[in-house]
């Protein structure tokens, strides 16, 4: 057990220190893109509130904090293990040759990989928001339970997407784009569910993707009550994890890696 923990910690550190293949400036440009989207959304909230629209009692502060925190917590709420990319490149096969489990290796690489964006994107965004006078205190302490559940569920969802990639014979970029667009809308990481029209928000809030980003953010900003959200998160974890493990086991024989 101790040996495995040591290997896990070493892999996390290795992954955290790993340089991006395309270099730091490439990474920085991606962070700037995220910051630009954040700025555009905050401008939209400002314009909506300036126009005096009916927001069902929600405040501009809540919307702005939601948007800021969705960027700050993005590396934890949108879990992307290297499984899909490595499957395409052929690197995934080497994980099977090591004396530790596939899940723990993927988890270690993902957690390590999240450290850089947390340092270079999340912290500056949070600091700038505080400087602008935004109150980033969570509205509910249940958020601290919701976030780990989101991270756990995120791993399961990512593995299911990797299985989908295997089933579709490695159409990596198609799945990548599809996933990016779908999770942005359906996970609530871009627009709060409370701002969606009709019954769409409450329905999405309890969906498997909606409980990813939407759940902790809604609790953080006080846009939703934990009574419905937390049980939904627990239920989806209980459903998605066995499903992901089963799908991955079934897909193992179907893996085709290009290599190179």
């Amino acid at each position: 057990m101790k040996k495995h923990l040591h290997a896990f910690r070493a892999t996390v550190l290795l992954s955290a220190k790993e340089k991006s293949y395309f270099g730091f400036f490439n990474q920085l440009a991606q962070y700037l893109l995220k910051a630009a989207t954040l700025g555009a959304l905050i401008m939209i909230w400002n314009s909506l509130f300036a126009a005096g629209v009916d927001t069902d009692g929600m405040t501009l502060q809540q919307f702005c904090v939601y948007t800021v925190m969705s960027t700050v917590l993005a590396p934890l709420m949108d879990i992307r293990t290297p499984a899909s990319g490595w499957l395409h490149e052929g690197t995934l096969l080497r994980l099977y040759l090591r004396p530790t489990g596939l899940f723990s290796q993927l988890a270690a690489y993902t957690l390590g990989g999240a450290l850089q964006p947390l340092l270079f994107l999340s912290m500056p965004v949070a600091a700038v928001s505080l400087l602008f006078g935004m109150d980033l205190t969570p509205a509910s302490a249940w958020f601290f339970l919701s976030l780990p559940l989101t991270v756990l569920q995120g791993f399961a969802v990512d593995l299911l997407f990797a299985c989908l990639l295997i089933r579709l014979d490695g159409l990596e970029w198609v799945i990548h784009d599809l996933r990016g667009a779908m999770t942005a809308l359906l996970s609530g990481s871009l627009i709060p569910f409370a701002a969606l029209p009709g019954k769409l928000g409450p329905i999405l809030q309890l969906s498997p993707l909606g409980t990813l980003a939407g759940a902790p953010l809604a609790l953080y900003t006080g846009m939703a009550q934990p009574v419905k959200i937390l049980p939904a998160q627990i239920i989806w974890n209980l459903i998605l994890w066995p499903l992901a493990a089963k799908c991955l086991a079934a897909s193992r024989e179907r893996m085709v890696c290009y290599g190179g």
Binding site: A51, L168, D169, M182, A184, L185
Partner: protein
């Protein structure tokens, strides 16, 4: 000159045929790609659109006008992707950064003809364009605009501007890959992503200097928001014709100049990632 034009059209026909043959050979993959492209494009614009529906509009646009703007964005993006989407022509930094320019320079066809024809995929690359057409027609039906010949000419004009701006930016920034092949390999993708993210936002709420930047230096505002303002009759025609023309022309001219300089650098230094069978094939 006339010979080169003929050659380009012959190549376009050839690439269209190859695209059709691919569809006939691997229909399953094409259907999956088209479907997922449609879903991902719908999802990308749905967020802003749903906000417009929920709050009765954003800034100066009501929900139907926002739908038109999104439709126009998909129309422009779809046209660009159908004409230049294949073989990384739009993402030119990948071709340059992977040392694949040699493969182009070896061909007995002018480089410009190759750039204008290689990306053409009229069948498998038409998903976004079809989505754009459906959304634009649907929004126009709801808006009940009076459509004239001038209006259609304006629509075509702004679609050309959209394409010129995207390609221009991709080639300007992509030329960095001549000197920095690894670091800048994905720079065209990144600049296209910036445009894709910001181009869908209406800029009404931005302070004037920022809106000015987004309509000139980083012209994502000219991709859909500005044209929609004009086509929906919310802007004076003089400015609306001049600004996109000047900006897109400048971007194209700069792209040509910068890319030529890059090619000269490449002729002297080549690329350390060159492989005869193609880096990453």
């Amino acid at each position: 000159m006339a010979g080169n034009v003929k050659k380009t059209f012959r190549l376009l026909r050839l690439y269209a045929k190859m695209d059709l043959e691919w569809i006939l050979q691997d229909t399953r993959a094409v259907i999956i790609i088209l479907l997922s492209e449609t879903v991902s494009n719908l999802c990308s614009m749905a967020g802003i659109l749903l906000l417009a529906v929920r709050f009765g509009g954003i800034g100066g646009f009501n929900a139907d006008q926002m739908l038109f703007m999104m439709g126009f964005f998909e129309l422009g993006g779809g046209l660009c992707s159908m004409l230049f989407g294949n073989f990384n022509v739009m993402h030119i930094s990948r071709r340059v950064g992977r040392g694949q320019m040699d493969h182009m320079l070896l061909q007995p066809v002018p480089l410009l003809s190759q750039i204008l024809s290689e990306g053409f995929m009229p069948f498998s690359g038409s998903g976004q364009l079809l989505l754009g057409i459906v959304l634009t027609v649907f929004s126009l039906c709801r808006l009940q605009l009076t459509l004239t010949v001038t209006w259609f000419l304006l629509l075509c004009y702004y679609l050309i501007v959209h394409t010129a701006l995207l390609l221009g930016q991709s080639f300007i920034y992509g030329s960095l890959a001549f000197s920095r092949p690894v670091a800048a390999e994905e720079i065209s993708t990144m600049i296209l992503d910036v445009n894709s993210e910001l181009g869908r936002f209406p800029l009404f709420s931005l302070p004037r200097p920022l809106a000015g930047i987004l309509c000139t230096v980083l012209p994502s505002g000219l991709l859909a928001w500005f044209p929609s303002m004009v086509l929906l009759g919310q802007m004076d025609l003089t400015v609306s014709l001049t600004l996109p023309f000047v900006v897109s022309t400048l971007f194209v001219l700069t792209a040509v100049t910068v890319f030529r300089k890059g090619l000269k650098y490449y002729e002297k230094n080549s690329c350390n990632r060159f492989k005869d069978m193609g880096f990453r094939r």
